[in-house]
Structures are given as C-alpha cells and as structure tokens.
C-alpha cells in the first residue's frame, strides 16, 4: 500500500465530505432557524441534478447546467416552502416528517413521470476532465478536485454570510428567538423563504456536481439525505461548523473504511471472507461512528442542548 494511494483516498474522502456538507448545510440551517426537519431535502438534490442534466443536454454547457441546478432547486425550494413547509413550522415533528415524506413521494414520482425511469447522464466538461498532477506526484481527477474547491468556497461563503451580513445576523437572531426578530421588524416569513431556498440551492448544486460522476436518477437524493442526517447528528443540529466537521468525518470514515477495512481484514483472514467481512463492516462504519459520538455527546460535537 503506497502513500500515494492513501493520499488519493484522503482526497476522495474530502470530496465526499464536501458534497455532504453542501447537503447538510441546508438541512441544519433550516432546522436551526425554523426548527423544521425536512426529509424532502434529498428531493431538492435530485431536482438540481435533473435540471443540470436537462440543460446540459439541451445547451451543451456545463456552466449553464450548474446555474440551472441552482435556480431550479432554489425555485423548487421556495415553492415548497410557500405551499407546504410554512404550514409546518408550528406543527410537531411527526407532522413535519409525514408531510415532507409525502413531498418525497410527489417529487420522486413526478420526476419519474416527466423523465422516465432510466437514468440520465451528465458529462464532465472537457476542460474539467482528465487528471491533474498535484505536488508529491499524485495524479488526481481535476473534476473531483474542482468539487473539493467548490465545497470549500461554499463553506467559506456561508461562514462569511452568517458572520458578516445582515441576513446572517437575522439568521442568528432567528435561531436565538423567533419572537424577538419579528419584534425587531424583520419580515420573518420572507426570511424563512430565503433561508429555505438557499439551503435548497446548495442541495441542488450538490446534486448537479455529483450527477456528473454518478448517474442522474429518481431516488438518488435519499442515500445522500440519510448520510447528511448522520452528518448533522454528529456535528450537532443547527451548527454550520458542526455540519462541516461532521461532513468531513463521515466522508473520510466512509471512504477510507471501504478501501482499507477489507485490506486490514486480509491480514488475518483469507482474501474472500476478508473482502466480504470488510465490506460489511465498512458499510456500517459511519453509523458506528455516530453511535460512539452519541454515547459521549448526545447532542453532537457542536450542539447545544437538544
């Protein structure tokens, strides 16, 4: 096992972590500000991917496709918020779970109806394809590197947005006390729509970016949604910092575990059973990580009291 392989896997873990961060950031913001659990966040990821695939197929431009993913997911998110979600803020979590589960059914079947059951493909543009040489002699796909950079840029942008801007102040105030910010004269329902659409846009962007590596299909958002839940449970619900830390932890654990656990098992097992036992354990690794963190800190790494 060479160090190049290890570094490469670390970069892969970083890339998965960045994707998860894009998903988890929206979820955790929406929970932190509005107190809402949104299962349909994965549908917005899917909307972004389908919008990107459709626009790329139509215009051939990857940049336009990414723009479309942001716009479509933000629009779908705003619509979702205006029609359904805002009726749920005062409801209990059970209602939120059920209503957003219903939204998943509607979005998934609606997309299947529009685009069919066959996966679409979104190609990596030529200027982003191929490997790039990194210091240390590592050849790494340029596109994956781009995803990492976009993720970092979004993270930096979000921290700036929340720390420095007016809307960031409103978001932080909203987390602290809803009545207070309404009393300060902030149009709270507009703020909620904006925050929801922002989270949706990030999910849509993640969907489009991943869509170029994997296929674009109905249901693609759900595995990611559940990983994003694990991320924010680990990081602490409502915390952007926690979402970033959790996303990196989950991304690394999942990637490194699935590569190195079978190899580790092969040290003391025959290759075939090592491969299968290693794969089985690797598939459960992030959940074991989550359970371990919960035992020590029931409200996550950066969470206050739940």
């Amino acid at each position: 096992m060479t160090y190049i392989l290890v570094l490469e896997q670390i970069l892969n873990g970083l890339q998965l972590g960045m994707m998860l961060f894009l998903m988890a950031a929206g979820l955790t913001l929406v929970f932190g500000v509005m107190g809402l659990i949104n299962l349909a966040h994965g549908s917005l990821y899917m909307v972004g991917a389908f919008a990107a695939a459709a626009v790329a197929g139509w215009t051939g431009s990857f940049l336009l496709a990414l723009t479309a993913s942001l716009a479509a997911a933000a629009a779908a998110g705003a619509l979702m918020e205006l029609v359904v979600i805002r009726r749920l803020y005062r409801r209990d979590h059970l209602d939120q779970v059920l209503a957003t589960f219903a939204l998943i059914l509607i979005f998934s079947e609606g997309t299947r109806w529009l685009f069919g059951s066959f996966p679409l493909f979104l190609d990596v543009p030529s200027y982003l394809s191929g490997p790039v040489s990194l210091p240390g002699g590592i050849q790494y796909p340029l596109y994956r590197l781009t995803i990492i950079l976009i993720g970092l840029a979004v993270a930096a942008g979000l921290f700036l947005l929340i720390a420095r801007t007016r809307i960031g102040i409103q978001i932080r105030a909203g987390e602290a006390d809803r009545e207070m910010i309404a009393a300060l004269g902030v149009d709270i329902s507009k703020l909620y729509t904006v925050v929801f659409a922002l989270g949706a846009a990030l999910a849509g962007l993640a969907g489009a970016l991943v869509g170029a590596i994997q296929s674009v299909q109905v249901g693609m958002g759900e595995p990611v949604l559940i990983l994003a839940f694990v991320v924010i449970v680990i990081g602490g619900i409502g915390s952007i910092k926690g979402a970033l830390a959790g996303a990196l932890l989950v991304g690394m654990t999942d990637t490194l575990g699935s590569v190195f656990l079978p190899q580790l098992f092969a040290v003391f097992m025959d290759p075939a059973s090592a491969a299968s036992a290693g794969a089985s354990l690797a598939s459960m690794l992030i959940y074991i990580l989550m359970a371990a963190i919960l035992l020590v800190r029931p409200s996550g790494l950066y969470g206050g009291s739940a």
């Binding site: 979590h93 219903a102 998943i104 998934s108 079947e109 924010i232 959940y287």
Partner: protein
Amino acid sequence: MMLTRESLLNWAMIAALLIVPVAAWSLDEPFIITLATKAAILALAGVGLNIALGLGGLISLGHAAFFGIGGYAMGILAAHAQNYEPLFEWPFLFEGSNQMPLIWLVAVVFSALAALVIGALSLRTSGVYFIMITLAFGQMLYYFAISWSAYGGEDGLSIWVRNEFPGLNTLDPIQFFAIAYVILCLALAFAARLARSPFGLALAAARQNEDRVQAVGLTPFTLRLTAFVISGAITGLAGALFADLNRFVSPTMLSWHTSGEIMIFVILGGVGRLYGPVAGTALYILLEHLLGGISDYWQIFLGVLLLLIVLFARGGLIGALAGREKAHG
C-alpha cells in the same frame, strides 16, 4: 361498556377484514385473499409501530429494521432448512427450520434484541435527533444486508415453499390468511390491554409530560425503552409473516421507505387510535390496488392524500368517521 362510534367502527373494520377474504374464498378469488392477507400483516406491523408512536410518542423512522430482521429470520431459517445446510453445529446441530412457530419466536427475539440496542442508544436523545438516529440505524442494517453476500446480498433470498404450521395447509391462501388474521387480532387485543395497563398509563403520561412522570418517581427512559422493544418485537413478527407471504426477503424490507410506509399506515388511519393501523393499511392497499391500476405513478396521489391529511385532517380516517378522540377512562 357503552359502544361509541369509534368502537362500532373498529368492530366493523375487523369484521370486514374477515368477511372480504372469506367471500373471495367462496367466489374462488385467491388474489383478493392475498391482498387481505397482506393488509392484515402490514396492519400488524403498524400495530407494533403504534405502541411506540401513538402511545409512547416516539417518532421512529427506523421500524423497517425490525420488520426486516423478522423477514431475514424467516429467510435464513427456511433457507438452511430447504438446503439441508446446518446453521450451526455447536452447542447442538441446528439445520434451520420451516416451522412457523419457531420462526416467529426467533423473529420476535431478534427484533426485540435489536430494538433494545437501537432504543438504548436512540432514547438518550429526543426530538429530531431521535428521528434521525432511528432512521440512521435502520439504514445501517439496510446497507449491512446489501453487503451480506452469504444471504443473497442485494438480490435477497427466495424460499421455494411456504413454511409450515402444525395442522394447517399454509399453501392454501385462506388458511394462511387465517393465521395472519388471528395474530393481528391477538396483537390488537394485547395493544388494547397495554394501553389501559399501569405501564400504558405511565408511558402515555411520559409522552404528555415528562416532568410529571419523573416527579412521581417513574423513569421515562425505562418506560420508553420497554415500549420500543415491545413495538419492535411485534413489527418483527409482522416481518416474518410478510416474508412468508412473499416467500422472499430482500434488503428492501429494511429500507427507510418501508419505515415511512409503516408510519403511513398508522397515520392514514389516525395517530394513537388503536385500530388506526387496520384502517390505514386497508386504505393503503385499496389505493395501491385501485390507483395503481389507473396509473403507474399512483404514489403521487398517495403523496397528495397524505399531505392533505397531515395539513387538514389530523385524525386520519377514523378521525373523519368517528369524530374527536375522547379522554379514555
């Protein structure tokens, strides 16, 4: 006891669930018997969930774990039995089993154990954390089943012949229905007694006011964990029956969509209503059958219906037909 509209409705539903398949049997319509069997089994899964959800207020999005464990208990025992491969040889030789009572016992024990572990971890938290964590543990088992190639991995596990029950021909649809129906009735009777028992009183009180329960010297965690284990065990039993109905078990039974669907059965009928899962499952199967015949995309309608119920008709089907719930006393 005075018959309320709700209890009349309950009797009518449980009677209808018996009459429809019996009529179908006399008219020689085995497909309808199978649908009714499916409804009875899924309602059983819902009765299990409802103990945690309705009585205990525990929003578990991970009950597919128990449903799937029950399914795999059936699949693994029956697969070993049909292939004459010993499941283990120590401390005694065990070649699996195709006897339902033993399969049920194993399904109940293992899903209860899983519920004990998952519950002990998840119940350290509450609110959205609890929802997400139960969801995550369910998904963990789902991915584990996919990667577990010894028992079919992603493809699942097929059983050639339905398992046996002493004295009955389980291959005859109406006899298998009878098994599922009797178990459902027993589970409903158990859930009804549970709700009125000292344990049920304390459990539902913990849902309404945790401080109060602690102040009278009772521990909400222990009450909830017990409820979660009972709930998981019943859902696990339903999983074993469901796998036997299909003679097939696959990771799909463990997926979070299954958890969502079991919850939908409970909600369509009405949260916290004893017979809610029966009404909800019947409605679901009916919708699936009727709308599914019209459109491949029938789940859009299901989604819209569910959304409307959540937003505008909290009581579900029973609430709409029987009116507001009384304080039971």
